[in-house]
Amino acid sequence: MPKPFTPKVITANALLEGDVIYQTLTGWSRSLQDAEVLTDEAHADLRMIEAEAQADAVVGVYLADVIMDGDVPTPTHFREDFRATGPSNYAHGKQELRKQEHI
């Protein structure tokens, strides 16, 4: 029996900054909260193809599992948690004050 499809987001690194980004309904965001949550496998496949087509802006596109905390997607694995937050030894990366940008 095929495994049921669990909620996912599409994530990658930005080509220019290298920063972790998430695909939204309209583009990409640096914040997991803004990500488009995919609950349907066929739709996810389609969105992956669209994401991978943007090779001049993003690197290493893949699907990451999330669980929903109300409306907000949160990572299921600690690696994705660190990607969404930044390193633990300095308040660098996403922890630095930065207004949300779109690429």
């Binding site: 220019l16 290298g18 690197v59 600690f78 690696r79 030894n89």
Partner: protein, 555 residues
């Protein structure tokens, strides 16, 4: 130190211009990531978890003050004001932006530095004893031959696509401070009668299948060294496995074929190619050696040293742990700890880099070294200048007296930065150091090397830590496995696995139990952790690590 020739300069310039064009073509979309990735890796540029990372080679760990100042400048201008010194005697910048990297490489080239061959299946940055040229126990300075090997291997047409990366380390002393037995080739300069030559060790390596290197030849003369190395690498190039990346390092080639078989093949290859080496390499070596002449040591007044030693207990403690014997009895080798308790091992801010550069210029004959233990060395400081050096360091958070002690931890970047990691290593190092600082035990515990890697690749050398810690992902939770009894010196040994792993919160108390057990078990304070372990074996340490199982067995 070694000065670049016009050839080196021109080569670097053209390489950098080439890479600048490649970056532009990646940004404008004419190169795909698949095409660009090998190109950026050849220039030391990785894409990590949160950002790009630029890895800059510091050949045989030697720097002068203007190079260190340039590293500080780059950290401020294009990174976040700091750099991470690694066990491979490199510096890594964790936050460069793609567009800026060509400028960073040009800035490095201004001081004869680069990021070439810090990656890829090539002969990597050659490492050497960080006390080279200064150590009291040295037969000869290993850096000239390390430089010769760098020149021979850089862009070597035959060796750009080896089965896997290839690492060479050179030591000039009987005490091994360069972990030569954990390298693909380890060279030890030895004396035989009046002759100086090389003991050649091959097939060492850490990672997934850790192996201690085996002696291929006990003595190879200077003229025969490059032909021998050429023969070894070409035998490996042909015989090394390309079908499986996990079996591709020379350690597996040696393990699968046996050292005798490899020796026979190397001998045969050597006989075939020996004539191509007409002695030009020896002339090159002579020229390089002239660049490594020892500084003219000064005569000075040692009184300030003795006075500070007598009157300032903090200075005394630092002098006792952070100084090593210099070949000139009026001098000392200063190890500057980049392991302040609770800080990230190996990180230095741009301010700290500038201070170290200034101290090197003022008191250290303009020389600095990076050690594989992620500290910075001032190899030549007159004893009379030691108090000035210490007080200046202390004011910038660089005065920690912990070299070789429990808080002098090697830790790889782990999952805070590295895309390959299975767990974090930096916070574990920070917490262990903080805990033992609170306990005020580390000077009592004495020499003890903890080494932490965030995955099986073993960049943190955990297999050769007296206490090694390996971070793994166990069903979606960080889990830390302990190995004991490893040793990265001339008595190299791979640590033994102690048992099941610990969670991120359990690992610190587990290490504490281990160390307290050692304090109970040692016969006298001078018996080190490693000696106690070698005398008693795993059992009593295991009992300390897993008290519950002991209790269960006893019930």
């Amino acid at each position: 130190m070694y000065h670049y020739t016009d050839f080196d300069d021109a080569f670097l310039k053209s390489r950098n211009a080439q890479f600048r064009a490649q970056v532009e073509r990646r940004i404008d979309g004419s190169l795909t990531e698949d095409e660009f990735k090998p190109l950026r890796l050849m220039n030391g540029l990785y894409l990590q978890l949160h950002a790009y990372m630029l890895r800059v080679a510091i050949p045989y760990g030697t720097l002068n003050s203007s190079q260190m100042e340039k590293l500080a400048y780059i950290a401020d201008k294009w990174d976040k004001g700091y750099g991470h010194f690694t066990t491979r005697q490199n510096i890594q910048y964790n936050w460069p932006e793609l567009r800026d990297v060509p400028d960073m490489l040009d800035a490095l080239a201004e001081v004869n530095m680069h990021a070439i061959q810090t990656s890829g299946n090539t002969i990597r940055n050659v490492t050497a004893d960080h006390f080279a040229g200064a150590a009291a126990d040295e037969v000869a300075d290993p850096r000239p031959v390390a430089e010769l090997i760098r020149q021979w291997s850089t862009d070597h047409p035959e060796f750009q696509f080896l089965p896997r990366k290839f690492k060479v380390a050179v030591s000039g002393a009987s005490a091994d401070r360069a972990v030569i037995k954990a390298h693909d080739i380890g060279l030890q300069i030895v004396r035989q009668g009046d002759d100086i030559g090389y003991r050649v060790i091959i097939g060492g390596g850490l990672g997934r299948t850790p192996m201690i290197g085996k002696v291929l030849y006990d003595f190879v003369s200077g003229e025969d060294l490059l032909p021998t190395l050429e023969a070894i690498v070409s035998v490996y190039n042909l015989l090394g496995r390309r079908d499986n990346k996990y079996k591709a390092r020379i350690k597996i080639t040696v393990h699968e074929n046996g050292i005798e078989d490899i020796r026979a093949r190397v001998d045969a290859r050597y006989n075939l190619i020996r004539d191509q080496f007409t002695g030009v390499d020896q002339q090159m070596l002579a020229r390089i050696e002239a660049d490594f002449v020892r500084p003219t040591f000064l005569k000075g007044d040692e009184a300030p040293y003795h006075s500070a030693y007598q009157h300032d207990p903090l200075f005394r403690s630092w002098a006792d742990t952070n100084l090593s014997d210099h070949r000139n009895p009026d001098y000392a080798i200063v190890s500057i700890s980049l392991k302040a308790h609770g800080k990230t091992p190996g990180d230095a801010t741009s301010r700290q880099m500038r201070l170290m550069a200034q101290l090197a210029k003022r008191y250290g004959h303009d020389e600095l070294r990076i050690s594989h233990e992620q500290n910075v060395i001032l190899p030549h400081v007159h004893k009379g200048d030691l108090p000035s050096v210490y007080y200046a360091l202390k004011a910038e958070g660089l005065g920690t007296a912990n070299i070789g002690l429990i808080s002098d931890i090697i830790a790889c970047p782990g999952m805070d930065y590295c895309a390959l990691a299975t767990a974090r290593s930096i916070p574990i190092a920070q917490e262990i150091a903080t805990r033992f600082d609170e306990l005020k035990l580390e000077h009592d515990v004495g020499p003890l090397k903890i080494k932490i890697s965030g995955c099986i690749n073993a960049c943190g050398h955990h297999h050769v830590g007296h206490i090694g810690i390996l971070g793994l992902d166990r069903a979606g939770v960080e889990n830390y496995q302990i190995t004991l009894g490893g040793d990265g010196t001339e008595d190299a040994a791979i640590g033994e696995r102690a048992g099941p792993g610990f969670s991120a919160t359990e690992i610190i108390p587990a290490v504490e139990r281990l160390v307290l057990a050692y304090l109970d078990l040692r016969t006298e304070p001078s018996e080190t952790f490693l000696q106690t372990y070698r005398r008693l074996g795993l059992a009593p340490f295991k009992a300390a690590l897993y008290p519950e199982t002991q209790a269960a067995n006893a019930a």
